[in-house]
């Protein structure tokens, strides 16, 4: 539908903010298109297209924030919302103790566009439904399969960011993903095996290259095998973790504790705080010397590589853990000065026009080592090889965690033998990462994206990518995922 020119709306909003005496203001105008095609048990259960458009205005007044947003894009609504944001900021200022001071950032004028070969929104819908139906059909050809699921997802965000400091950024960002699963039942027990592409800033080529038709029979056969597999015997095992599994371990046990707003208590009432408190930066042993965790929001194709964050700060690359020592946080313009850093790391993100940006985990990945997967397994006498994501839970300071996985194989005397089920491992974050004694090389590195990272009140979903090669961890406590009578 025809709407007023976004630049005119932005100028109208910022003029109002400047006139209020506020020291800073910005506006984000966003038009998001989301398409989801979902299949369940051979049928196409739903096809949905969402068009979500609106704007959010952020105001800093006497060192305190106000934010207001609306889905009504009109020349009447914009000044109303700008005034409301100012009024809210004035209220916040009345209770301010520690006034917000923003880290300096150069003025940027830029346009950022996701590079893709095939626009997922241009691919005929019939091609997508046909693919998903064929995938589910192949899953159900396997005896013992009772349920299937197949889904394709794409999102485009057209965004304008303009600030009172003169930064003007224009975005056309894309992300794509696809996934399938198969569920088998055996003797009252059921097991589900998944295959999915990562969420990446790519086009439909991500789906065609993944070859779902070949993966479908593989995951179906493994679901049946897993349903019949023996339950793991609790005890101490060496673990070899695949890149997809590690992406979640990194996310929960390194990503969240490295968010500076958590370390400073801003999330104390919901997502929690962090064991990586300020005095630990530069000295705390987070893991073994093999552990190097790098934040890189510049790698093309990754979810947080958007050119600039929602503070208008250019995306960057920095060390979070270097040779096992914790050295760096994810920050925004508000948080960086609180630890004496002159510039934000560019990790301030909102999940839509309706949300205020907050500190988010960057694209934190485990840097490759020198081993191969075969090397890692060969040196394990009694261990477990884990692939994919399963159950996960961690305390609110990110010390005590527990993870499952999507599939498990017993390793005996350097060889992967048979599947296991109900494997759960738990530990304390720095002890676990200190037990890492082998990381595979760059050829083993894979990237996995997250789009449902929950944080903030009201809750928001964060987007980031975690890359890793395979890695080995020694003497980890494993229990079985059953409620014992």
């Amino acid at each position: 539908m025809s709407t007023p020119d976004w630049n005119d709306l932005a100028e109208l909003a910022l003029k109002r903010v400047r006139a209020s005496g506020a020291e800073y203001g910005d506006i984000r105008v966003i038009d998001s298109a989301i398409q989801t095609v979902r299949g369940e048990d051979r049928r196409i259960a739903s096809v949905k297209e969402i068009c979500d458009r609106g704007f959010g205005i952020r105001v800093l007044y006497r060192g305190a924030w106000g934010f207001a947003a609306s889905s009504i894009l009109s020349t009447e609504e914009v000044p109303r919302i700008a005034d409301l944001a100012v009024e809210i900021a004035k209220g916040s200022a009345s209770l301010a103790i520690d006034r917000v001071r923003l880290a300096e950032e150069p003025r940027h004028r830029d346009r950022v566009v996701t590079v893709c070969q095939f626009d997922p929104f241009s691919v005929p819908l019939e091609d997508k439904t046909t693919l998903l139906q064929e995938v589910m059909e192949r899953v159900h050809r396997q005896a013992g399969i009772v349920r299937s699921h197949a889904e394709l997802w794409a999102r485009r965000d057209r965004k304008l960011f303009v600030s009172t400091e003169g930064t003007h950024l224009d975005f056309d960002l894309l992300a794509t993903q696809g996934e399938i699963s198969a569920t088998a039942v055996h003797d009252g027990y059921f097991a589900t095996r998944h295959f999915h592409t990562p969420h990446l800033r790519q086009g439909y080529e991500l789906i065609t290259e993944a070859n779902f038709l070949l993966e479908a029979p593989r995951i179906a056969a493994q679901a049946v095998e897993m349903a019949r597999a023996p339950v793991v015997e609790p005890g101490v095992y060496d673990l070899v973790l695949d890149p997809e599994h590690l992406s979640l371990t990194i996310h929960e046990s390194c990503g969240h504790p490295s968010e500076l707003d958590r370390a400073l208590g801003y999330e104390a009432n919901y997502a929690g705080t962090s064991f990586l408190t300020l005095e630990k930066r530069g000295t705390f042993r987070y893991g073994s010397a093999q552990v190097n965790l790098l934040a890189d929001n510049t790698e093309p194709g990754t979810l947080a590589a958007t050119g600039y964050d929602d503070d208008g700060v250019a995306c960057q690359k920095w060390d979070v853990v270097r040779e096992g020592i914790f050295v760096g946080y994810c920050t925004n313009r508000e948080m960086a000065p609180k630890i004496g850093e002159p510039r934000s790391r560019g990790s301030n993100r909102a999940d839509s026009w309706a949300s205020v940006p907050i500190v988010r985990i960057a694209n934190i990945g485990l840097e490759p080592g020198a081993a191969t997967l075969s090397d890692l397994i060969a040196d394990v006498k009694r261990g477990i090889y884990i692939e994919g994501h399963g159950s996960y839970s961690i305390d609110q300071r990110r010390y005590n965690f527990q993870f499952g996985g999507d599939a498990f194989w017993l390793i005996e005397n350097g060889r992967r033998t048979h599947m296991l089920r109900d494997v759960i491992y738990h530990g304390i974050t720095p002890e676990f990462w200190s037990s890492c004694d082998g990381v595979a090389d760059r050829a083993h590195r894979r990237r996995y994206g997250f789009i449902t990272c929950g944080k903030g009140q009201p809750g928001q979903s964060g987007w980031m990518t975690h890359a890793a090669p395979h890695a080995r961890f020694r003497r980890v406590q494993v229990i079985s995922g059953e409620a014992r009578p």
Partner: protein
């Protein structure tokens, strides 16, 4: 009460406007069936931490969704723009999807017109509350914590949502809904205390009482020592019970039951919890956030899901309900877990009868470990205490549990009258505090 009598601003979408938008779409729709859903939301949250406001937001958001079906082919499209042009463009997108989608054997046309229960979902004081009122409450909570030299973090939120569902079958439902919330975490050195509330009326959030509750918990939690993991008798406060019950309720899906992928498989009609307890849906309860209709335009129902421990129904979608001849479809958005004769009036009475065990304020990050038997894991949070000889003797460090509600809800030694419970991971429920004979903890954390 109708919104038209309220001087709130901005003007929210009215019943007449929903009907106008729906009629506009129906008139132009080429589908056999068309369903229009309109949601207009206006609300804000004032968030505080370290005894000051850190975030203060207000959002107005509209969502208009159109579902079109051509035979059994269906498609759905939505927009945040309520102009006539946008509504028709959204209809076109839904029609385009429906035309090329494969036939769906489970598709059912929208319901015929329904009769809805009268539920008081709208309270004027909440709709009128704006940033100033929220700030006032924040100030009150922070002030109480400052007087005790403690740090507070939390939120006060309030919102008004106008919700409408209309179908080409003649179905029409509309209501205004208000919602307000308060939650607070108080930090006393290493210890935290927490309390929360949710109500249709912002006047009912009981800020002082809840803040005091969180302060007391935090003060009592200082100096926690580690105890070994293992099996302990526990007294679960209502929030902890709500965490387990929410997972229990989320696994009642009828389709999963039929396919053998439900932890309740074979248990319909059987005892699934202590026979002294029953689970009801009570959309009419003034302390719950009841609704008169759900997203498909069907009415909510007062229903006894578990009667004296025995499971009476599963959660059905319309297809599954039709297949099994279930009408009306029971709903479960306003849960009450209760027993006719509570063994103890208050949590303190459950503690008094416990020789040795743990008092759990709340659980955090609850996740399914094994959906076959509903084994869950999660951490204790914001107040875990050792009980010895009927008294709380000392705080203990947080523990990780590994348990199935299907097992522990059969090991109930005592329970109170239901009380309000709302946690970051649950909706609002009315549930009792419970004493459980044996509860499994598998590891301990550092605080």
């Amino acid at each position: 009460m109708s919104i038209s009598t309220v001087k709130s601003w901005p003007n929210m979408t009215s019943r007449e406007e929903v009907r106008f938008l729906a009629d506009l779409v129906f008139k132009r729709s080429s589908g056999d069936h068309t369903l229009v859903t309109v949601q207009d939301h206006n609300g804000g949250t004032t968030r505080f931490a370290n005894n000051q406001v850190i975030q203060n937001v207000n959002t107005r958001r509209g969502t208009l969704t159109v579902m079109v079906a051509c035979g059994r082919r269906h498609g759905e499209a939505s927009t945040s723009d309520f102009t006539a042009g946008a509504a028709l463009e959204t209809l076109n997108r839904a029609e385009r999807i429906a035309r090329v989608s494969p036939e769906d054997e489970e598709f059912l046309p929208p319901p015929l017109p329904q009769r809805y229960p009268i539920v008081n979902t709208f309270l004027e004081e909440t709709a009128l509350a704006g940033p100033a009122r929220r700030l006032e409450y924040v100030q009150e909570a922070i002030g109480q914590c400052r007087m005790e030299n403690l740090q507070a973090a939390g939120i006060v939120s309030s919102c008004h949502t106008a919700m409408g569902v209309a179908a080409s079958s003649g179905l029409f439902a509309f209501e205004d809904r208000t919602d307000s919330r308060f939650s607070i975490t108080v930090q006393a050195a290493e210890a935290t205390g927490w309390a929360s509330a949710a109500h249709r009326s912002i006047d009912q959030l009981k800020i002082q009482e809840r803040t005091l509750q969180a302060i007391r918990k935090a003060q009592r939690g200082s100096g926690a020592k580690e105890i070994p993991p293992g099996r302990y008798p526990v007294v679960l406060e209502p929030a902890a019970v709500a965490g387990l019950l929410t997972w229990f309720m989320s696994m009642l899906d009828a389709k999963a039951y039929e396919k053998g992928t439900s932890p309740f498989w074979g248990k319909l009609g059987e005892l699934v919890i202590d026979p002294r307890l029953s689970l009801l849906n009570r959309p009419d309860h003034p302390d719950l956030l009841g609704l008169s209709f759900g997203p498909d335009g069907l009415p909510t129902t007062v229903f006894r899901w578990i009667d004296h421990g025995s499971l009476k129904s599963l959660v059905h979608d319309r297809y599954s309900a039709k297949k099994h001849g279930i009408d009306p479809i029971p709903t479960l958005e306003s849960p009450v877990l209760e027993g006719e004769e509570p063994t103890s009036p208050r949590v303190e009475d459950l503690i008094r009868t416990t020789e040795r065990g743990l008092l759990i304020t709340n659980f955090w990050y609850i996740r399914a470990v094994n959906p076959s038997d509903l084994t869950l894991t999660g951490m204790t949070r914001d107040g875990t205490f050792l009980i010895e000889d009927g008294q709380i003797t000392r705080p203990v460090r947080n523990l990780r549990f590994h348990e199935s509600p299907l097992r522990v809800f059969m090991l109930v030694d005592g329970f109170t009258r239901p009380a309000e419970a709302v946690t970051p991971e649950t909706g609002k429920l009315l549930v009792p505090a419970m004493k459980i004979r044996e509860f499994t903890f598998t590891s301990v954390t550092r605080f």
